[in-house]
């Protein structure tokens, strides 16, 4: 049985390495799929969290609620940390 994962939709090797590093550091499982929207990635994620490129930036989306990105940012390591902490239920370290 595969573990519940957050889904990253990307084919950019640098983005994948940085996001995967953040997930490894937070000890949260991640799976990587071909590019789709963040919302679509979230719908594929058993944890309901997806990451994908969105208007030139990275977006974290949730599988439920409004179909708008939950968090948007440029730094893939930072965005990976946010998404992993969201899954692990730890404070994200973002400000209002």
């Amino acid at each position: 049985m595969s573990p519940p994962t957050v889904v990253l939709a990307s084919d950019d090797a640098e983005v994948i390495r940085a996001v995967a590093a953040a997930f490894e550091e937070e000890a949260v499982p991640l799976s990587v799929v071909a590019p789709i929207s963040a919302r679509a990635a979230a719908l594929r994620s058993p944890l309901g969290i997806g990451i994908a490129l969105h208007d030139g930036a990275l977006a974290i989306a949730l599988s439920t609620g409004p179909d708008v990105p939950y968090v948007i940012g440029d730094d893939p390591r930072r965005m990976g940390r946010f998404a992993a902490r969201l899954a692990a239920r730890r404070p994200l370290g973002v400000t209002a």
Binding site: A21, E24, E25, A27, Y70, R89, R90, V94
Partner: protein, 562 residues
């Protein structure tokens, strides 16, 4: 004649406008409320009064002819953490407590601090704790593995960035690694250091024990005793590092507490281990330049839910102090007289006005016992066949604010909201956990900055104010209620003792801003169960709740005397 009854509190000013016609009951026209400007009773506090009168008068198209004030006694409230001024000699042991939530490995180990780059040379032949600066985790892991292969005995790691697990996974998953050590650059290279990482959900045990810490750092038995302050400072932390420095005595210099002078000339320290004496017994407090009517102090609430938190709260030596002073001037009266066309009159004592106002509560008739819980004082007014007694005890809502602020590490304004409003823990963007363990499921996600935080929750607005304090809502709720019990219910007991007790079966009406808080009402009712009183919340004029009792009461007393 139009009159304005004015109650200037420590936090809130209230104005009751009424028309007085001889031979008739007063016609109550409005009650307005706003924050007190400046300290209660000073000229600065006149501005808030005039603003409220102007606001109410504009609606009526008429200015009041008289402004009715109560006889005021200002309260000064503060909270001081004595430990902030203590000096603890760590016995030649430097410590750091990284904030990272993701250290790597488990266990404790000690070795010599060296830079990662130093691993390029010959092995030292002793355990080492390399310090990894801001380099790529793959590069760092490669260097560490190469060093281990040639015989370096690496027993732990200190990592500057958030890469502890990444490096651990590439070197040795069991190696204790602390990361996000911001001041790693200042660690003394060549010094002996001990690193410990506790299992998930645990706290360090080796470094928090002075003897084990001494063994890890190779300190002699005498220095082990001196390491107690360092060990104590690490209690409750999941990961930590301790570094051996030059030997020192390990002593502590405790900041001297302020002293209170009592009526009989004796003194008592204002500290966490002492209790305030009876109401009115304190006549002076060090550093307070005023003749005092009362002083009250209390420590931060105790918790039995969490030993580490209990120790941390105790170590802070935080004491909240409220002093009730004799007024030295009539700044408010003079400022109002100068800046208003109305005649300014000190119409009555605050507590007499509170009784008159509280007695307008539907069904109360004459309220013989009124408890006015405001920002600065708990006032008790008793009018029974045996006579009239009125006392004011220093310390009420504002002191609770100070304690809540100290517990949560927030400013007084946010603390006041945290005192009044319930808290929630944002478990996921869609799930809130409440203080009773219940859950709310949201249809729109909570903001990202609130996730996994304790938040003050404004039910009507649905807003969430995230706090940095790592407390479960259940525990925070208990601490908040304990603060209200310690200050307000405890102070009310002092007031009751001062009037010689209360007769069982009588009606006691709660008024004042704090009486709007259901938790305060609960704590007061609980405190007074042995007195068998009928405790009810006031509803001034049947429409203002427990607010504005003094302002309305001033109007009523003036009308009766007019």
């Amino acid at each position: 004649m139009l009159v304005a009854g004015v109650d200037v509190g420590n936090a809130t000013t209230e104005v009751a406008l009424a028309r007085l016609i001889p031979g008739r009951e007063p016609e109550h026209l409005s009650v307005t409320r706003g924050p007190t400007t400046g300290a209660k009773g000073t000229a600065e506090s006149a501005q808030g009064v005039l603003d409220l009168i102007e606001r109410a008068s504009r609606r009526l198209g008429e200015q009041p002819h008289r402004i009715l004030l109560a006889d005021l006694h200002p309260v000064e409230t503060g909270l001081r953490e004595l430990s902030a001024d203590d000096t603890h000699d760590l016995g030649g042991v430097g410590i750091a407590r990284p904030v990272s939530a993701t250290p790597s490995g488990v266990g404790a180990a000690a070795g010599q601090l060296i830079d990662l780059e130093d691993l390029m040379g010959e092995p030292l032949g002793l355990p080492v704790v390399p310090i990894v600066g801001p380099i790529d985790y793959d590069d760092a892991a490669a260097q560490l593995n190469a060093a281990r292969a040639v015989g370096w005995n690496i027993v732990a790691l200190v990592v500057t960035g958030d890469d502890g697990v990444l490096i651990g996974n590439r070197v040795d998953g069991s190696l204790p690694i602390i990361d996000e050590v911001a001041d790693a650059a200042t660690l003394p290279r060549g010094a002996w250091a001990a690193v410990e990482v506790a299992p998930l959900g645990g706290a360090v045990t080796q470094l928090a024990d002075p003897l084990r810490l001494a063994v890890l750092l190779s300190l002699d038995p005498q220095r082990a005793r001196g390491a107690r302050n360092a060990a104590r400072a690490l209690v409750g932390h999941r990961a930590a590092i301790a570094v051996r420095r030059e030997a020192s005595g390990g002593g502590s210099t405790r900041e001297a507490a302020r002293m209170a002078t009592l009526r009989d000339g004796s003194t008592v320290a204002i500290d966490i281990g002492t209790r305030p004496p009876g109401l009115g017994d304190v006549i002076a407090v060090d550093g307070v330049d005023a003749t005092l009517l009362d002083a009250f102090w209390t420590a931060l609430p105790r918790t039995e839910d969490n030993a580490a938190l209990a120790l941390q709260l105790h170590q802070r030596r935080a004491v909240g102090l409220a002093v009730l002073a004799e007024r030295g001037d009539t700044g408010l009266e003079r400022a109002l007289a100068e800046r208003s066309d109305a005649e300014v009159i000190v119409a009555a004592a605050e507590t007499a006005a509170a009784v008159a106002g509280a007695s307008t509560t539907p069904g109360a008739g004459h309220a013989p016992i009124v408890i006015d819980i405001g920002g600065g004082t708990v006032d008790l007014h008793v009018e029974l066949a045996g006579g009239t007694r009125a006392v004011a005890a220093a310390g009420a809502g504002v002191l609770v604010d100070r304690i809540c602020g100290a517990l949560l590490g927030i400013d007084p304004l946010r603390a006041e909201r945290a005192k009044q409003l319930p808290s929630v823990h944002v478990e996921t963007p869609f799930i809130l956990r409440h203080e009773d363990g219940g859950r709310t499921f949201l249809t729109h996600p909570a903001p990202a900055h609130t996730v996994a935080h304790l938040c003050v929750s404004e039910r009507r607005e649905g807003s969430l104010d995230p706090l940095t304090a790592d407390l479960a809502p259940e525990l925070w709720g208990r601490l908040r209620r304990a603060a209200k019990r310690d200050v307000i219910a405890g102070n009310l007991r002092r007031a009751i003792d001062a009037v010689g007790g209360l007769p069982p079966g009588e009606l006691a009406i709660l008024v004042g801003g704090c009486a709007e808080d259901a938790e305060v009402v609960d704590e007061v009712s609980l405190e007074l169960t042995d007195l068998d009183l009928a405790i009810a919340r006031g509803n001034v004029l049947g429409q203002h709740g427990p607010r504005a009792a003094v302002a309305v009461g001033l109007v009523l007393l003036h009308a009766r005397g007019a």
